[in-house]
């Protein structure tokens, strides 16, 4: 038996005269891995911010327990001269919300070391955070989200600027977490391929509507053509999903 950790009912989001989506309704069950896909400007990050309670939807209702969210925000470089080490960033995830200056006990320090090791960042733990590469900071961000023992993981393009090997490390970590602890993962991405083995369902936010379901139901020529209101081809090439004909497909390639 699974139970819903997040329940979204009739959600609509409108900016000025532009409506991103309406009647968005879905549930996220314990242990579920949900990918959120869609073109740039489809409101993927906005949806996360609504789940976080940082953005008010135009209408609709969200039922969610916000006390234990692990959040990996969209990549943003840190100031080069921050007086902060990699492990300090991770530590924020554990005790940054506690009052006082406080010292960590041995078990908590070990927990930080372990999670840093899990993202393959042990060698970076004592380096100045601002001098690390984007990918290195990103791995520490994932460690920061995991260290708090979250009840829900929200990740916004967490694989950005990671090479293939580390993409797999991160995906496996999140996959393990949701299997062992039942923590649902909401994973915003523009490319479903690195997470194909882990993902249970896809929420696709398109210009002409949205769809949710298993990869094989949503990432199809019929569904995407409907969501874009134009002809889209979805191909399977050597186990990869290739989407042809989306208006911003070229742009996505430039991002890499």
């Amino acid at each position: 038996m699974t139970k819903a950790v997040v329940s979204v009912e009739g959600l609509a989001l409108r900016f000025a005269d532009r409506e991103l989506w309406h009647d968005l309704t879905f549930q996220i069950d314990a242990g579920e891995f949900l990918a959120v896909l869609g073109p740039n400007g489809a409101g993927k990050t906005s949806l996360l911010r609504i789940l976080l309670g940082q953005l008010e939807p135009t209408s609709g209702r969200v039922v969610i327990d916000r006390s234990g969210i692990g959040y990996v925000p969209q990549q943003r470089a840190f100031d080069r001269d921050l007086p902060l080490r990699g492990r300090d960033l991770v530590r924020f995830g554990l005790d940054g919300n506690r009052w006082g200056a406080g010292r960590l006990g041995a078990p908590e320090r070990k927990r930080i070391d372990d999670v840093i090791a899990a993202v393959g960042a042990s060698a970076l733990a004592d380096a100045p955070l601002g001098r690390l590469s984007g990918g290195e900071q990103q791995r520490l961000r994932v460690a920061q989200a995991l260290v708090s023992d979250p009840g829900l993981l929200l990740a916004d393009e967490p694989l950005l600027s990671l090479d293939l090997a580390y993409q797999q490390v991160i995906v496996q970590l999140l996959d393990e977490r949701r299997r062992s602890a039942g923590t649902p993962v909401v994973f915003v991405t523009h490319d479903v391929n690195p997470i194909l083995t882990a993902v249970d369902r896809v929420l696709y936010l398109g210009p002409d509507g949205w769809a949710i379901g298993p990869v094989d139901d949503v990432l199809t020529t019929e569904t995407l053509s409907r969501l874009y209101g134009t002809e889209i081809d979805v191909l399977r090439v050597r186990g990869r999903v290739v989407v042809v004909g989306t208006p911003d497909a070229e742009h996505v390639h430039h991002v890499h």
Partner: protein
């Protein structure tokens, strides 16, 4: 001459007042630098000047006026929580008008010259016992607040989005830091003056964060640099007739330059 001065009560008071102010400025400076609030500190300080001159005109204690001026600006900046360029230009506009008002108040006030010089450039040797007591009370308030807010304050300064997701009251902390900065500024003005507040709030913290990447150690180093600059500056001005504020700013700037040189050398 120098040794006789060292035995004087007013010198002891000045050294104590300097120490109190230096500790507070050094501590809060780390958060100010991390949040990029140098310009805001400058504005809060100059509006403290406006408040002080306003108080002089209506016959009130200028220190109260200063506190009032800084707190009003600090609170408004915190509540508006402006970002980036908008904050930059808003502060510039308010600062300019505030200084204009200060100039008007000064012209309305009869004791023009000394009052203005003391406010603008500091008058640490003029601090009496009652003022020292007030400085200490405000210092304790700011330091206790910083100690209680320490971890969330760091978290919110560096990583506001994730901090908010973890339940840290980011907005309230932003107001809190501005109020604490206002209190600190009103303290620092009495030692180094309106125009040199940054020398105690910004320079030591900016130097400290180039010397270490450990957050806790950064705070301690910043306090140490502010202390050495202030006490050294007061002592040097006793031995030499140049102004205290000059020596304080010169010593803290020397630390800053040395820290930059060290971090450049460390990288090559």
């Amino acid at each position: 001459m120098f040794t006789t001065l060292l035995g004087q009560h007013f010198v002891h008071t000045a050294l104590l007042a300097g120490a109190v102010v230096a500790v507070v400025c050094g501590a809060i400076g780390v958060f100010v630098v991390m949040r990029g609030l140098s310009f805001a500190v400058h504005a809060i300080s100059e509006l403290g000047f406006t408040g002080a001159t306003g108080a002089l005109v209506i016959g009130l204690d200028p220190v109260l006026g200063m506190l009032g001026g800084s707190l009003v600006v600090g609170a408004s900046l915190g509540v508006l929580s402006l970002r980036g360029r908008e904050r930059d230009s808003a502060i510039g506009a308010v600062l300019a008008f505030g200084l204009g008002l200060g100039v008007l108040f000064l012209s309305l006030y009869q004791g023009y010259a000394t009052a203005a010089t003391n406010l603008l450039f500091g008058s640490i040797v003029g601090v009496d016992d009652a003022q020292l007591r007030n400085l200490a009370i405000v210092a304790v308030i700011v330091l206790v607040a910083l100690a209680v807010l320490y971890r969330p304050l760091f978290f919110a300064a560096i990583d506001p989005e994730v901090a908010a997701a973890r339940g840290v009251p980011v907005r309230a902390l932003s107001v809190a830091i501005f109020l604490l900065v206002a209190l600190t500024t009103a303290e620092a003005i009495q030692v180094v003056g309106v125009l040199l507040v940054l020398t105690l709030v910004i320079t030591p913290a900016a130097a400290a964060q180039r010397l270490t990447v450990r957050p806790g150690l950064t705070v301690l180093l910043s306090i140490a640099i502010a202390l050495i600059s202030t006490e050294g500056g007061i002592l040097l001005s006793l031995a030499h007739s140049w102004p205290t504020s000059f020596f304080i700013s010169a010593i803290s700037f020397a630390f800053y330059v040395a820290a930059r040189v060290k971090s450049v050398l460390a990288r090559s």
